[in-house]
Amino acid sequence: MKTPLALAIAAAALTVSAVHADEPRHGGTINTIIQPEPPGLVLGMIQNAPTRTVAGNIYEGLLRYTTDLEPMPQLATDWEVSEDGRTWTFHLRDDVTWHDGEPFTADDVVFSADVFHRELNPSARAVLQHIDSIEAIDDYTVEFTLDEPFGPFLISFEAGTFTMIPKHLYEGTDFRDNEHNNHPIGTGPFKFENWDRGTVIQLVRNDDYYEDDLPYLDGINWHIIPDGASRAVAYENGTVDVLPYGTVENFDIPRLSELDNTCMTEAGHEYFSPFAMLWMNNREGPTADKRFRQAVMYAMDREFARDVLWNGLGNVPLGAFGSNARFQNPDLDPYDHDPERARELLDEMGYDGEEVRLLPLPYGETWTRWAEAVQQNLREVGIEVRTEATDVGGWNQRLGDWDYDLAFTYLFQYGDPALGISRTYLSTNIERGSPWNNVEGYENERVDELFNEAATAFPDEEREALYHEVQEILQEDVPVGWLLELGFPTLYRCDVQDLVTSGVGVNDGFKDTWLDR
């Protein structure tokens, strides 16, 4: 009797009644924190985390993703793919307007993807290189043609990656000097209101938003507080209601999460799945020896780091693919904490006590502490370690110049190995100047082949087999140290409802949020 649709509705109704006592209500402004202060708010021009977090509520992409990384309609209502997996057609909503009142059409999509992102956006370029053409079929239909099937194509339409930029304001201008950069215009549920540098960024409700009733909130204030302890105080004394991940130090989380009326969720980071790694320079020094790298893996007490430094949040990874990643191979031999084994490996390779330099990640206290713990772990198996502190600039430079032996980092996985994982191991991705490519200098032809084939293989079963094989090779070679799949918790007052409704969390989640006050 029951159609799937009815089922869904029933389930939704059930969820609603179970979780909320009330219907969503309008009104109220939410106070939260942005850390660090973003350099600008035009997504696509700037892709760093704080820009994504704020501007994801101003701009939108064609799709959103659930916490299981399934696509949801946003500006596109539905989409289809051709048999050969090369042609994708998106149907757009016809009732969308930009914040300045102009209608949003297929031309904007073509402009954004083909012109704007091609010129400015390196992470979009990684996808765009697989796209032959983008055409507006009519005002509300867009067709993408790929040169060959590309596995992660459909996962690339998140607001922060393929941001929709208003063609009528940007076409023909110098994008970086466009006057609208200081007053971003998007299609999103919130409009830019004010940015008092060093203090606050304020967004207000978009009254003309196309989805009925949404958003519920009158506005969002993103407070800018540079000191971690002060940010914790801001939450404690009630100034802010939401602490997005990364805004308070991990040591504060247990204490804060036990405060009255405080809830915590780890959901909302699935799209990024931040994966902490230890770069090991494969080119020279002791780290060039596979056995040394294996010894490092055995020497590190990753459970300790997770439990003490990350409050037990997150997951010690098996290997190169995180547990959230698609196509993880569960049958690999794990690297457990085994100092004895590490010493054996070091003896075997004849490690002579040559000093290795360790670069911590200059992103706050937890990372500094972590580097200290790893340093101590390594010293205890007999590795001479010297920590070299750098600031963000120095860290970028040193990694870009490959001037390190061991270095902390974390990378986003972007939902698909072809976007987030392969970039770290492909030898074609060895290039000076960037801290995000194959920085360790790992070269393995077989690995290159497997990753390249898997990216364009179709359908998924074929991809899985290829990815499983590559994981076995990586597990043996240990090009980098796999430290932790980070759990980035979001803390909020329990009366803030529907805060995290997608795989990017608060980055685009405030449109559904309402206050039960």
């Binding site: 302890a229 040591f251 504060d252 300790f304 430094l309 206290e365 502490r369 580097a371 101590q376 750098t390």
Partner: protein, 278 residues
């Protein structure tokens, strides 16, 4: 009255000296009392003081012994304070001596140079220098020295200017002593007491400066210093007060002791002033 008797007349100075000696003993005994690295994670994290035997001051965020860190840190803090002061003296004393002794254009030039360094706020310059050289003991010591030599140069210059026309200096010139001999043998020994007093205060300031640098994350990551301990404990100040409290008190006491000793030295080296001041 002997030097020490005059020094000991100032009860504060005596008190300061005792504290300082205590801290020096701490620094020297550290490797004996805690032979293991202070970085070693030895107990469960966030152990409050006096809860477990052998962990008088508790453990830190990663289960490292605070008492061990404090004792090893004494050595580091004192060394940074001392060495950076010595380096600052090595820059400031010759500059000030030459400027004050020769006067004229040389003085003008050197003083413009000194003023130039004083025009940039100290702490800002120190931060920039450490960041550029990358944090390490050497860069921290250098940065502290570079921002703290101008007062030395000014003091030495002033002393030299007031002494260079003293009759015994003129007498030395008249008997044909060379300028270098006059600077080193006639004038310099007579400027030592104010320099010693200033130096004792500079050591204190250097320790404060080092802790402030560590606080903003520019400490040497390889050594356990008090500044580092506070910087590291700052984020957990709410749940583990003892982590920033003990090193904070240690800094406070050291700086206090050095100041008291400085005052005592001043009294003992300038007995006339001391009588007026008391």
């Amino acid at each position: 009255m002997s030097f020490f008797a005059r020094f000991a007349q100032n009860r504060g100075a005596l008190f300061g000296l005792i504290i300082l000696l205590g801290i020096i003993v701490m620094a020297i005994l550290a490797p004996l009392v805690f032979p293991e690295s202070p970085w070693r994670m030895v107990q469960r994290p966030f152990l409050p003081p006096m809860e477990v035997d052998g962990f008088l001051l508790g453990t830190d965020t990663m289960g490292r012994n605070v008492a061990a860190g404090l004792m090893h840190g004494a050595w580091v803090s004192l060394m940074i304070g001392l060495v950076s002061t010595l380096v600052a003296l090595m820059i400031g004393v010759p500059l000030g001596a030459v400027a004050g002794y020769y006067g004229g254009l040389i003085d003008d030039g050197l003083m413009r140079f000194t003023e130039f360094f004083q025009t940039i706020p100290n702490f800002a310059l120190a931060i920039v220098l450490v960041a550029i050289m990358q944090p390490s003991i050497t860069s921290i010591v250098l940065a502290i020295a570079i921002v703290s030599w101008p007062p030395v140069a000014r003091l030495v210059r002033a002393e030299f200017m007031s002494l260079r026309n003293r009759e015994y200096v003129e007498a030395a010139r008249l008997v044909g002593q060379s300028n270098a001999t006059i600077i080193v043998r006639q004038i310099l020994p007579n400027t030592l007491s104010p320099i010693i007093v200033l130096a004792s205060l500079m050591v204190a300031t250097a320790i404060l400066l080092e802790s402030a640098l560590s606080f903003v994350g520019l400490g040497d990551p390889n050594v356990m210093s008090w500044g580092y301990m506070i910087g590291a404990a700052r984020t957990v100040i709410r749940q583990a007060w003892w982590l920033s409290f003990f090193p904070g008190v240690a800094i406070l006491l050291t700086v206090l002791a050095l100041n008291l000793v400085g005052e005592g030295l001043d009294d003992a080296l300038n007995p006339k002033l001391a009588r007026e001041r008391s």
